[in-house]
Symmetry: C2
């Protein structure tokens, strides 16, 4: 289906595809086999239809599809639709949790605007392996659907002590501690603008030593997210939403 401007549309909006290559008017870009399959068999697209392309660097382009190859497909950028714009500099550092796949966190955090997804291994982390390739695939899909012009970087898991030891001097750390800290909004109002990160622990929380090490960082801003106990993934989404709202 196409809209009145000839763009292919999905139920959620215009069809947008993330590509790795540079985007320049007239230079055809190869699409992946997955993208070609989706265009052909789900979208029932045809050569000549218009898709939107973005790569995180060159803005969003309207591009003309070529589906004449047997399995492959390409698209040729025609006109810049939106110039590149960077989102907030906001990391999400999260302990992977057992019940909720990292897929879910990657998807929601991408919609909520994070720039970096950083899995963190803590003492009580039950999950030891994180499929970062799959995390990235989920982040790409969420970026395509949420009108972002970039995809969050997906980092390999790091152990908490290493993360803290290398913590950047100018990056504030929103630490969603359970009790005794000021409400998130109050703390954020008083805090400086600039690079931030949200840090979320595993199911069982951080242990006392980990907690002390996090609190010892001068960049740490401890907050509470309310009186109820939130699951780790809920806490991550709530913290990101509140951070975004406070910056708006």
């Amino acid at each position: 289906m196409t809209d009145d401007t000839g763009d292919l549309v999905e139920p959620g909006g215009r069809l947008r595809l993330f590509v790795e290559d540079g985007l320049n008017a007239g230079d055809a870009v190869a699409l992946t086999e997955g993208q070609a399959h989706y265009l052909r068999h789900v979208m029932r697209a045809r050569s000549g239809d218009t898709v939107r392309l973005f790569n995180g660097r060159d803005g969003e382009w309207r591009a003309t599809l070529d589906l004449s190859g047997k399995r492959r497909a390409s698209a040729t950028p025609r006109a810049l639709a939106r110039p590149q714009q960077d989102g907030p500099d906001l990391w999400l550092c999260f302990a992977p949790i057992k019940k909720t796949p990292a897929d879910f966190i990657a998807q929601k955090a991408t919609e909520l605007g994070v720039s970096v997804l950083k899995p963190v291994l803590t003492r009580r982390t039950i999950v030891n392996r994180v499929n970062t390739g799959r995390m990235r695939a989920n982040a790409i899909e969420a970026a395509e659907q949420s009108d972002r012009l970039d995809v969050p970087e997906c980092h390999d898991p790091a152990a908490l002590p290493w993360l803290l030891a290398a913590w950047p001097a100018g990056r504030a750390l929103l630490f969603c501690d359970e009790a005794g800290a000021p409400p998130a909004l109050e703390a954020l109002k008083a805090a400086p603008r600039g690079p931030w990160a949200v840090l979320i622990g595993p199911e069982g929380g951080f242990d006392a030593e980990e907690r002390a090490a996090i609190r010892a960082l001068p960049q740490t801003v401890p907050v509470t997210l309310g009186t109820r106990i939130l699951r780790a993934d809920t806490a991550a989404l709530a913290a990101l939403a509140i951070w975004q709202a406070a910056q708006a």
Copy 2:
């Protein structure tokens, strides 16, 4: 496993069970077969162990387990651990969406403190059936794990025009419209305290007529949740988190 006070504990915290019956010191309460099974075979609990019970009316009680029956189990309240306290008067009115089971929304919204879960059928709602029994089961589980003292009411689906026609005079309606509205936090700061609801549309959004009808309600407070396009379930969670943070 029990903690130093003799309470059964799960990885997330103390074991809490929701029951329908009244809670009074010394009056045994029957547990469901599901609860009995969980206690016996997952928790490996024994008669004499302590669980916490709540029913949404009588506070949270420490209660002594009796697993001597063959399949059944009961628990006898011994001491009030926390008096009943009501959470915020906050409804979530949401159009059920296809990709995300209502389970997920029920779970997250319960953690984030809603008092009522109200599925709404709109013109672009693809899902027509909502399993409210299952929604309630998910809300109960989330209430048990999030330290709430009550379980949100789970209503049957209502068509949008009926919902709006019967909208309570004193209940403000947070309408997460896509564009042109003020940022959520700004609008919430200027808005009155009191009963609220968050209204979230389906995948494709509300149509123009529905949107006009919602905006025509004097109780409606239109807001925007930022520049990115959020999935309906992400928008619901973000709106609830921001509402809670603004009230804290």
